[in-house]
């Protein structure tokens, strides 16, 4: 089944009209370069393929009660989100190079950019990047370009998955990438300020950070700016329903993973990297940007803009090699944010915080289970120190039906017994109670 409309008769008719044969169409490829054979399976019908894929899907078990987060969360997604993004006028279109026939996508992206600005209290956002990790890398590159410097300070409370990505990307570049070490789960001001100097391009921090702890980086923004450095804040968009924003803290670039804005977990993607900045840095920002303008009859319309930054114009001098964005994911985010709206997002964020707070109290009341950090300011995720190895304990809890959290030893050598537990608005009081009972039983 190859979805080809033309019948063999039509193909023959077309070939005759242009005086060629099917083999003749490939006569320009040297014979020795044509493949002898392909060891590929025979094609199958839709019914057979769906049966096979249903079998494979059934080999994935998604019935665990999910307290697993680490930057990727099990949030509620309204049905209308899926209805809208399933409209093929959106999903079978491409990058809106021809604005007159792409006003739907372009206006939706303009609205998405506006919503990201309102959420982060920043002034300008791009049309989206691949994911939170590549957005953080792009923000770092942007800071290097803006400042002309080459030192980056990144705190180890930033998602370790993103930190390893940034290490990969900078291996062939002469960048001085220094990690600062958290103190009690938050940025160690003394260490950071000591290392901040006139060669520093940017300080990279996260809120809530990987441990779930909530911070205010206003002091770090001021310190960075006094040295001519930028502040990059990676943030969790749902938390911005209630938390102090990167804009209010004085951040120069805000980025983050947009999965929580209505995107399914889908085993790691596609997700959505968002990026917002101050007005003065717009022309240094990577990625597609949609702008508002007018036609000859003064009608308002939307176009891709500031393309002079981009690879198809600037080639090796471009701000980034990025060509596409994650337009359909950005559409998902704006539909989600519109459906929940001002009140719904705030309530969702509050629910997350309240339920996490309840879970923290419930779980830390178990004998031997202690909060890892002194701070009580966390959003929807927190670190527990267990009286046993966290990876082993989490393994035992899987058998009891829980994805109980993420064991931190994989990324933090001194945290063998630490478990990162996430609670979204979907978790009920009863599920939290059952997790507590199960944890007590396996310890």
């Amino acid at each position: 089944m190859s979805f080809i409309a033309n019948t063999p008769q039509q193909q023959k008719q077309m070939l005759d009209q242009i005086d060629l044969t099917m083999d003749g169409l490939f006569a320009d490829i040297p014979k020795e370069l044509l493949a002898k054979d392909f060891n590929l399976p025979a094609g199958r019908s839709e019914f057979e393929v769906r049966s096979r894929l249903a079998e494979l899907a059934a080999k994935n078990y998604t019935g665990l009660t999910c307290f697993l987060g680490g930057g990727f969360y099990d949030h509620f997604i309204p049905a209308a989100v899926y209805s809208i993004i399933s409209r093929s006028e959106f999903y079978t279109a491409y990058t809106p190079y021809q604005p007159e026939v792409s006003q739907g996508s372009l206006q939706a992206i303009f609205e998405y950019q506006s919503a990201i600005c309102r959420l982060t209290q920043m002034q300008a956002a791009n049309a989206s990047l691949y994911d939170g990790g590549t957005a953080l890398y792009e923000a770092m590159m942007m800071a290097l370009r803006i400042t002309g410097r080459n030192k980056i300070l990144i705190d180890d409370s930033v998602n370790p998955i993103y930190r390893v990505m940034i290490h990969s990307y900078t291996k062939n570049l002469s960048i001085d990438l220094e990690e600062t070490k958290n103190s009690e789960g938050v940025v160690n001001r003394k260490d950071l300020l000591n290392r901040l100097d006139n060669s520093t391009a940017a300080v990279i921090v996260q809120n809530p950070n990987f441990f779930g702890c909530v911070d205010d980086f206003t002091d770090i923004a001021q310190a960075a700016h006094s040295r001519g450095a930028l502040l990059i804040v990676s943030c969790y968009p749902v938390s911005l329903g209630i938390l102090k924003t990167p804009g209010a803290m004085g951040a120069d670039i805000a980025v983050g993973e947009g999965q929580s804005l209505g995107l399914m977990m889908s085993f790691g993607g596609p997700y959505l990297g968002f990026m917002a900045t101050k007005k003065e840095y717009v022309r240094k920002m990577p990625g597609r940007i949609v702008g508002r303008t007018k036609d000859g009859q003064d009608r308002v319309g939307f176009v891709l803009t500031l393309q002079a930054r981009e690879q198809h114009i600037r080639r090796d001098k471009a701000t980034s090699n990025i060509c596409s964005n994650e337009a359909l994911c950005a559409l998902t985010a704006i539909v989600y944010l519109s459906l929940l709206g001002k009140e719904g997002l705030k309530k969702t964020a509050q629910l997350c915080a309240d339920k996490a707070s309840y879970a923290w109290q419930r779980l830390t009341s178990i004998k031997g289970v202690k909060p890892r950090f002194k701070t009580k300011w966390f959003f929807n995720e927190f670190v527990l120190d267990l009286p046993a190895n966290a990876a082993e304990t989490a393994g035992k809890l899987i058998e009891k039906g829980f994805a109980a959290g993420f064991p931190l030893s994989r990324y933090y050598g001194d945290m063998e017994n630490s478990l990162l537990v996430a609670v979204t608005e979907k978790r009920t009081r009863q599920q939290i109670g059952m997790l507590a009972e199960a944890l007590e039983a396996v310890l």
Partner: protein, 481 residues
């Protein structure tokens, strides 16, 4: 159309989150909270659904119109792939699951999809191994160049420069530059192929590699491709295959046989995953045997007991370039597509894509200038110079096509053709559609002769006419704050 923010009615709410069943504690101190609510829309569910449904009707997509956008392979996206991607076993699977003890056993189906895709793409391209991590074509390019750099670092090679033909996609030079290389541009010859003498003069000990798409952006197969790759290999340079144009040769030839060491594939092009108004895509990267050690971690392996697992122990790996396993739901759709088509189906793809492109080329070449005549592969590139001289250029022809109900071809690319119009019909379009398009293109050519002003006024059937892009770039209005 009004912005969604302008439709707000204070107090209205679309979808309520679940009711709270825990005490409202507000555990976070006030100084850490935002001072005012985020100013998001306040609308009913119907308000929101109607707004976005109306927006959707202001778009052309493959499902609504013929979309021969050159180099983008806008083929039909089978609905079965959308259905499979929504199966709860895939859609609700947390990506960190395999990192939990025993968790990998609960994600066997997803790991098997990734493992199978690796094997299928290896067979299709002739490469030895793939990573599924790159989340777009350009991301694949960056990953490929990082692998190139790791190879040279490992061998102690002092390489500084990546060669790229002047007809290349802009992403190629941008990717090489971002990975830390200098870029040098290799000219094309009069037949639209790489100037092999120029290449030989440019290749030296500092050459890290060459990035090339084949067929190239003119839709022409580089007949000297073997010689080109040999030339690079003679200085321990690597050859990178930009898979943007694989649709022309899929099921017929393998890039590895041409001499390529690294390839990226655009799953959203050749393997038919939806373009989503500009993403998400997926750009898996495959490498020859000598580069396997440098692929990103993790890699899916099959254990002796038949189970699938993630392998992290690869000391020479370039590391992670994505948080997990790439755009899994996109990879899944492409997997469905390959399983449905199978060996014979993939061959038919290339054959019919090439047939459709040559059919259009032959039927239009008396009406528009064809800078490089001869067989083309998946796309043909015309020049509207003749029409431009008379007052209506490629952009005007593009806009006139819109009024006739067709999405325009890619225009003004590749840059080496003046007034370029790059037409890629794809294999899924029928003869009836092609004939209708050809007829309209001929009529437009005639109008360009007689009444160029009429073309300059197009489009007139769309919600807005031509927009002032200069003003947009100057006045920078990119958000309603």
């Amino acid at each position: 159309m009004k912005l969604i923010f302008d439709k707000t009615v204070p107090g209205r709410c679309g979808v309520l989150p679940p009711a709270s069943d825990v005490p409202t504690t507000i555990n976070i101190k006030k100084e850490l909270l935002r001072d005012a609510d985020a100013n998001l829309p306040e609308l009913s569910e119907l308000d929101v659904v109607r707004h976005f449904t109306q927006l959707s009707r202001r778009n052309f997509g493959v499902d609504t119109n013929f979309y021969p956008l050159g180099s983008c392979t806008m083929k039909y996206n089978p609905k079965v792939a959308e259905r499979v991607a929504s199966y709860p076993g895939f859609a609700h699977l947390h990506p960190l699951m395999p990192q939990l003890r025993m968790g990998g056993l609960l994600a066997q189906g997803a790991l098997e999809v990734l493992y199978d895709m690796d094997k299928l793409l290896c067979e299709i391209t002739g490469m030895a191994g793939f990573t599924m991590q790159p989340m777009a074509g350009a991301h694949g390019e960056l990953c490929g160049i990082m692998i190139m750099a790791a190879y040279h670092r490992d061998r102690g090679n002092k390489k500084t420069t990546v060669l790229i033909p002047d007809s290349a996609h802009g992403t190629n030079p941008a990717s090489a530059a971002i990975a830390g290389y200098k870029v040098a541009s290799v000219p094309s010859d009069s037949a639209g192929m790489m100037d092999i003498d120029a290449l030989k003069r440019m290749v030296g000990s500092e050459t890290a590699g060459l990035m090339l798409t084949c067929p190239n952006t003119l839709g022409i197969f580089e007949k000297n491709i073997r010689q080109i790759c040999d030339c690079l290999h003679s200085v321990d340079g690597l050859c990178y295959y930009d898979g943007a144009n694989l649709n022309a040769i899929v099921g017929k030839a393998k890039p590895a046989d041409f001499g390529f060491d690294i390839v990226h594939l655009n799953l959203h092009k050749t393997f038919s995953t939806p373009h989503g108004s500009g993403g998400p895509g997926a750009g898996p990267v495959g490498v020859a045997g000598k580069l396997l050690d440098y692929l990103p971690v993790s890699i899916v392996i099959k254990r002796n007991d038949g189970t699938f697992a993630l392998e992290y122990d690869k000391p020479k790996s370039i590391g992670y370039i994505a948080p997990f396993y790439g755009n899994f739901a996109v990879i899944l759709r492409a997997y469905v597509y390959i399983l449905m088509l199978g060996k014979a189906g993939l061959k038919e793809v290339a054959e019919n894509a090439v047939l459709n492109a040559n059919y259009i080329k032959e039927k239009l070449k008396d009406y528009y200038d064809l800078p490089f005549d001869g067989l083309c592969k998946h796309e043909c590139v015309f020049s509207a110079q003749r029409q431009a001289a008379n007052g209506a250029g490629a952009i005007d022809i593009a806009k006139a096509l819109i009024d006739a109900g067709f999405h325009p071809p890619t225009v003004y690319f590749p840059p080496i053709v003046k007034e370029a119009m790059m037409i890629e019909p794809t294999e899924t379009e029928s003869k009836e559609t092609l004939d209708a398009f050809i007829e309209v293109m001929r009529a437009i050519a005639e109008t360009a002769q007689k009444d160029a002003a009429k073309l300059k006024a197009a489009p007139i059937t769309t919600p807005v006419g031509r927009l002032d892009e200069t003003a947009a770039a100057k006045n920078v209005d990119i958000a309603e704050l």
